[in-house]
Symmetry: C2
Subunit: 241 residues, 2 copies
């Protein structure tokens, strides 16, 4: 399946190109394209922030114009956090990821445009896109940086193929952690007194097993109260007071 | 609805705490908790990377232990990119976000634990969690940094409330951008010759309107060929050759 291309239009800081390359590779993307990077290319400052994604930087293709960068693409997304007064379909990163996968499955080439750090994409670049990829952000603090935007788009693309993880339903009336930890400490204290932890080498492993067992039981406050009574009773604490 | 708390356990670099605070506020989260930050707290180095999310840093609560940080929580997620050999329900960031919302809707307090930059969460911290929040990453390049993990979790939480954006179905057989731009340039060239763009002040706006119209038509290769024939015919290009 063809991967979407990540196209950085007029990126300013080479460090941010490195950050973007790292984020891409974290989520299995390798087709990086640069349109007229401000400080030229290749640029040494991109290396440290790429944190090992060196091949991506080395293989990045550089174009003079956005038009050339998207020439082989059949479906282009323009990333923005602001509203544009341009009539275009709008997709969230999650929806766009699904569409990119459809394009790739059909042998097409998808691409995502990201604008320069300060100003974002120009209207002339957005016009070239089929779809506006709008990242939902807090309207009172929407200063998403370039690398963050690339991370979110790359992550969604990767996650689309990975929806098969088990979902566990939440059930209400669960005790607070303070109550649960109180129970854990109570039982450990009594087991210490009784000499349960005979082998000091295994003490930590045994404790962790018990903690994990209690943790995963999803106990209610009432159940914890009950268990604490049981411990008191078993240990003889109640009588010794 | 109660927001999830973001809990950074033993964070090393204050800069990363700033990055995390910025990412949280981008997605509307404000409950930042720190467990024994390596370089103390408050720390001036967190300020520049917070990029304006100063109130989050100022209001961050500091705890000596993870246990104290989660005391008021009813549902705790432990973030990890590695597999843990601990029997726990596992959720993707997307699934976890849905669960966090359920918890909040029922008046509970959710929290997400993030480990220190190099080592991640200890097993003792993971034991305290109800659910492992596993971020799907490229197994060959899984070096996700702390701020990236916080961004993804915060973003998913925000996005869960924002699923109502329009989804536009993709239809196959769409022309490449090179074909589409070829059509745009062809029509513009002929309109220039014919003196269509009389007012130089409106030229760019008119061109953009036409480009946008053509762009949004989702033309096939065949349709573009047809349209180019139409332009040739209308403009008299065909005869003048």
């Amino acid at each position: 399946m063809t991967q979407p291309a990540i196209i950085l239009v007029n990126p300013q800081m080479a460090e941010n190109i490195g950050h973007a390359a790292r984020a891409m590779l974290n989520f299995g993307l390798t087709d990086l394209r640069l349109v007229a990077p401000r400080d030229g290319w290749p640029n040494h400052d991109s290396k440290s922030t790429a944190a090992g994604a060196d091949d991506l930087l080395k293989n990045a293709r550089v174009f003079s114009t956005t038009k050339e960068a998207v020439a082989d693409c059949t479906r282009v997304f323009a990333t923005t956090v602001r509203d544009r007064d341009m009539p275009k379909p709008v997709a969230t990163p999650h929806e766009a990821a699904g569409q990119m996968r459809d394009v790739g499955d059909k042998g097409g080439q998808a691409a995502v445009l990201f604008g320069p750090e300060r100003s974002g994409l120009t209207n002339d670049d957005v016009v070239l896109a089929d779809t506006v990829l709008s990242i939902p952000v807090n309207p009172d603090f929407s200063s998403l940086n370039l690398a963050q935007a690339v991370i979110l788009v790359s992550y969604e693309w990767f996650a689309v193929s990975d929806e098969s993880k088990p979902y566990v339903e939440y059930e209400g009336d669960v005790a607070s952690k303070a109550e649960l930890i109180g129970l854990m400490e109570h039982i450990e204290q009594q087991l210490e007194i009784k000499g349960y932890f005979r082998s000091s080498g295994r003490r930590e492993t045994q404790k962790r097993m018990i903690r994990n067992l209690l943790q995963n039981s999803e106990l209610s406050s009432q159940e914890i109260q009950t268990l604490r009574g049981v411990i008191k009773s078993l240990s003889g604490e109640a009588q010794s007071r």
